[in-house]
């Protein structure tokens, strides 16, 4: 039976192991944004043996490129972007202690295996609900790569940002199970 869990990073292995696919989570505290270009920069820094702009151990990355904030607002729209574009980068970050990723869409078998190996989860936020999700963001500041514009790494303070566990650290996939329940045509080969 799916449960609702409040999550605040830094997350421990125990926090993550408690989560099962279908669980609803409400994320509060500090999380970091990163899209394609920022991931490439992070991996370049690691390869060069340089420090990263933020701690990864126990942290949550949110795959988002927000729209600009109108004066008086913390942030513009801020819904998730499609996660598979970060798949080639994710296992390295998981090995370094990243505990959760928030995005939309499916992950590769390699990322799912890495989540199992390093004890991490993938959380789905509602794609296209950028205005709604922005209400959960209480503070936003760019902490790295400002030249990337919407792709810069932002430090976000969030309160009860809603998401659902898509992949847990047992290697299970909510998309497969959910779709199988409603499929009326033959399953894909």
């Amino acid at each position: 039976m799916p449960k609702t869990v409040k999550l605040t990073p830094p997350l421990t292995n125990e926090d993550v192991r408690n989560l099962e696919i279908g669980d609803k989570v409400l994320v509060s505290g500090v999380i970091y944004t990163a899209r394609d270009a920022a991931h490439k920069r992070l991996l370049d820094l690691l390869e060069a043996g340089k420090p990263l702009p933020m701690e990864l151990q126990g942290q949550i990355l949110y795959y988002v490129g927000p729209s600009p904030a109108r004066p008086g607002r913390v942030i513009g729209a801020a819904g998730p972007t499609t996660s598979y574009r970060m798949d080639s980068f994710a296992p390295t970050l998981l090995r370094l202690g990243l505990k959760a990723m928030i995005g939309k869409g499916k992950r590769s078998p390699e990322v799912i295996a890495a989540m199992k190996e390093y004890q991490a989860v993938y959380l789905g936020a509602t794609g296209g609900a950028g205005a709604l999700i922005s209400r959960c963001i209480k503070d936003a500041r760019v902490i790295a790569f400002p030249e990337l514009g919407p792709e810069a790494i932002h430090r976000l303070e969030v309160e009860d940002l809603p998401a659902i566990v898509i992949n847990d650290c047992e290697g299970r996939d909510l998309f497969e199970i959910g779709v199988a329940r409603y499929r009326r045509s033959p399953a894909p080969k």
């Binding site: 270009a37 988002v64 490129g65 927000p66 729209s67 600009p68 904030a69 109108r70 607002r73 513009g76 729209a77 801020a78 819904g79 972007t81 499609t82 598979y84 939309k104 869409g105 499916k106 789905g124 509602t126 794609g127 296209g128 609900a129 950028g130 205005a131 709604l132 922005s134 209400r135 990337l148 514009g149 919407p150 792709e151 659902i164 909510l174 998309f175 199970i177 959910g178 779709v179 199988a180 329940r181 409603y182 499929r183 009326r184 045509s185 894909p188």
Partner: protein, 279 residues
């Protein structure tokens, strides 16, 4: 011959870009409400509820409904009795996009394909122009999100594959896309023409008002058949499983070469945004 100042084009495109991003159209809201009523899965109904709430917040707070404010595609129907004066027509459209995305606090999502350097103003827009009879100018601004565009495909089928082949390509494209393009989606299908014309038709088909049947009864029947097949996939809202994977399938078709059967599938996310300006 009727003269239209290109400054009016800039003004119209600017406002259309902003309004398209803030205000979900009535046909989209109605389609989401119908989807919410028809969806059997609990998580799917919750997604529909969130999307309708999101549209309300975007409209009230003047914030984009989706942070991906899109690559701006502008469909132009230019009356042949119109004389555009006061400068370059294309530059006027690009200026409207530049101003709209700047003043509207919309995300600038255009970059160099190789260096990935952002152009900073969401230009250049992609412009499609058709010359039509009359003395009016219609501009439709379509902010198109990258996530759904990435899941779109063009297939060059063998003529022998026929309708069954077309159907399998449409359904297969949606199946492969799964949760990635933000379902519930709208599926634009272009059949025939040439390689690029099929893709153009597939995108143009998305301009039709949601809920209106195809004016061609035969195409309307084919659209219904494709919609049933797509929704039988069970992908559902956000891919969590459900009955409503697509809100609609739209089809445009034209003659093609005897050797060819081009089929293009343009996936549109639920944030289906378009605004018309008529001058």
């Amino acid at each position: 011959m009727r003269e239209i100042e290109v400054a009016k084009v800039t003004q119209g495109v600017k406002q259309a870009a902003i309004d398209a991003n803030y205000e979900a159209s009535a046909d989209l809201l109605a389609a989401l409400a119908r989807g919410a009523a028809a969806e059997e899965s609990e998580s799917g109904r919750e997604i529909f509820r969130q999307l309708l709430e999101n549209a309300g917040i975007a409209r009230e707070e003047r914030v984009p409904m989706c942070q991906d404010c899109g690559l701006a595609v502008v469909f132009v129907e230019l009356g042949q009795d119109v004389h555009l004066v006061g400068g370059s027509f294309e530059a006027a459209i690009q200026e409207g996009i530049r101003q709209g995305y700047g003043e509207g606090y919309l995300r600038k999502s255009l970059c160099h394909p190789l260096t990935r350097a952002n152009t900073g103003d969401n230009t250049p827009a992609v412009i499609h122009t058709e010359i039509v009879p009359g003395d009016r100018l219609k501009l439709t601004v379509v902010p198109k999100g990258g996530g759904s565009e990435n899941m779109s495909r063009v297939h060059m089928l063998k003529p022998a594959e026929g309708w069954a082949g077309i159907k399998e390509k449409v359904v297969g494209t949606v199946r492969e896309a799964g949760p990635n393009p933000c379902p519930p989606i709208i599926v634009g299908v272009g059949i025939g023409g040439s390689f690029e014309q099929a893709a153009y038709l597939s995108k143009k088909s998305l301009l039709r008002e949601l809920g209106l049947p195809n004016p061609d009864p035969e195409l309307a029947r084919l659209e219904e058949e494709l919609l049933l097949a797509v929704n039988d996939l069970g992908i559902g809202p956000q891919g969590l499983g459900g009955r409503i994977t697509a809100l609609a399938v739209h089809l445009l078709m034209q003659q093609c070469h005897i050797a060819s059967l081009p089929v293009a599938v343009n996936i549109q996310c639920h944030a289906s945004r378009h605004r018309e300006v008529i001058l």
